[in-house]
């Protein structure tokens, strides 16, 4: 059996740059950061099922999430409410996840995003973190990771 070749950090960086460049570009693109261990209180994920199974997870800081929501909605940060942040971060992981899905074996389906704002991480049982990309946008930490279901083989390039 041939192992699935997962998108690597370069692929994910390209996708993140495209998403941020299209909709958040006026405030600069995320830059690669040295790996960090910070706990990121805002987490969103989408799951992929079918030809490949796993999850795409986006984590960021409270301030980063609020800033992104304000840019996406063209509103002042002071006017942004929690529902806006959940919507914005959910839509960002939806776009990143949808584009990562297109690089993986199909056909497969993408779930609606799950978002956690309260500092509690989203757990993905029966899966392992296969690829992680740590970034900084507007001075705020962002992490994009791909979690592969442990029931299948898969390895980064």
């Amino acid at each position: 059996m041939t192992a699935t070749v997962l998108p690597d950090t370069f692929d994910i960086e390209q996708i993140v740059a495209e998403v941020f460049g299209s909709f958040l570009g006026e405030d600069g693109l995320p830059e690669l950061a040295p790996p960090f261990d910070d706990h990121l209180p805002v987490t969103a994920s989408v799951s992929i099922t079918g030809g490949w199974e796993g999850h795409v997870v986006l984590g960021c800081t409270d301030d980063g999430a609020r800033a992104a929501a304000a840019v996406l909605l063209a509103m002042d940060q002071a006017d942004i409410v929690e529902a806006d942040i959940a919507d914005a971060i959910g839509e960002l992981v939806n776009m990143v996840g949808g584009n990562i899905k297109s690089l993986l074996p199909g056909p497969s389906a993408l779930t609606l995003p799950l978002v956690s704002l309260g500092g509690g991480a989203l757990h993905h049982p029966s899966s392992r973190e296969a690829v992680r990309l740590d970034l900084v946008w507007k001075g705020e930490a962002i992490r994009v990771s791909v979690w592969a279901a442990t029931s299948q083989e898969g390895s980064p390039l």
């Binding site: 909709f23 996406l72 949808g98 199909g106 779930t111 609606l112």
Partner: protein, 120 residues
């Protein structure tokens, strides 16, 4: 011309409406729907000339929205704006009667290319 923008994300509806403006289609009327079920209601009530719809939505998704419209006899021009632009999804969209699929993230140029033949 009236355009129905259907997406469960308010953020994305705002971005689509902003991009329509940037692409030169800001003079048209825009109606918003929050999922495929709301889209069916608004399509019947508002009689739009074009539907732009997300694919992944709760309750009634974009594909079911389009299929239900077509089953009811509606020939309204319909295009997807979705984060999934794989060949498989494009084939499904075309088979169901969609005129185009714009993949997120998108640019005003992508909107111009898809909508210019319809809106002029």
């Amino acid at each position: 011309v009236k355009i129905l923008v259907t997406d469960d994300s308010r953020v994305m509806r705002q971005i689509v409406i902003r991009t329509l403006r940037q692409a030169g289609f800001g003079d048209h009327d825009v109606v918003e729907a929050t999922d495929g079920q709301d889209g069916l209601t608004k399509a019947a009530e508002e009689r739009p000339d074009l539907v732009l719809s997300d694919w992944n939505m709760p309750e009634v998704d974009g594909l079911e929205f389009l299929q239900t419209l077509r089953a009811s006899g509606s020939r309204i021009p319909f295009g997807f704006v979705t984060s999934e632009g794989s060949p498989d999804m494009r084939a499904k969209a075309e088979a169901a009667g969609a005129l185009f699929l714009i993949a997120k993230p998108f640019t005003p140029e992508a909107f111009q290319e898809a909508l210019e033949p319809l809106l002029g």
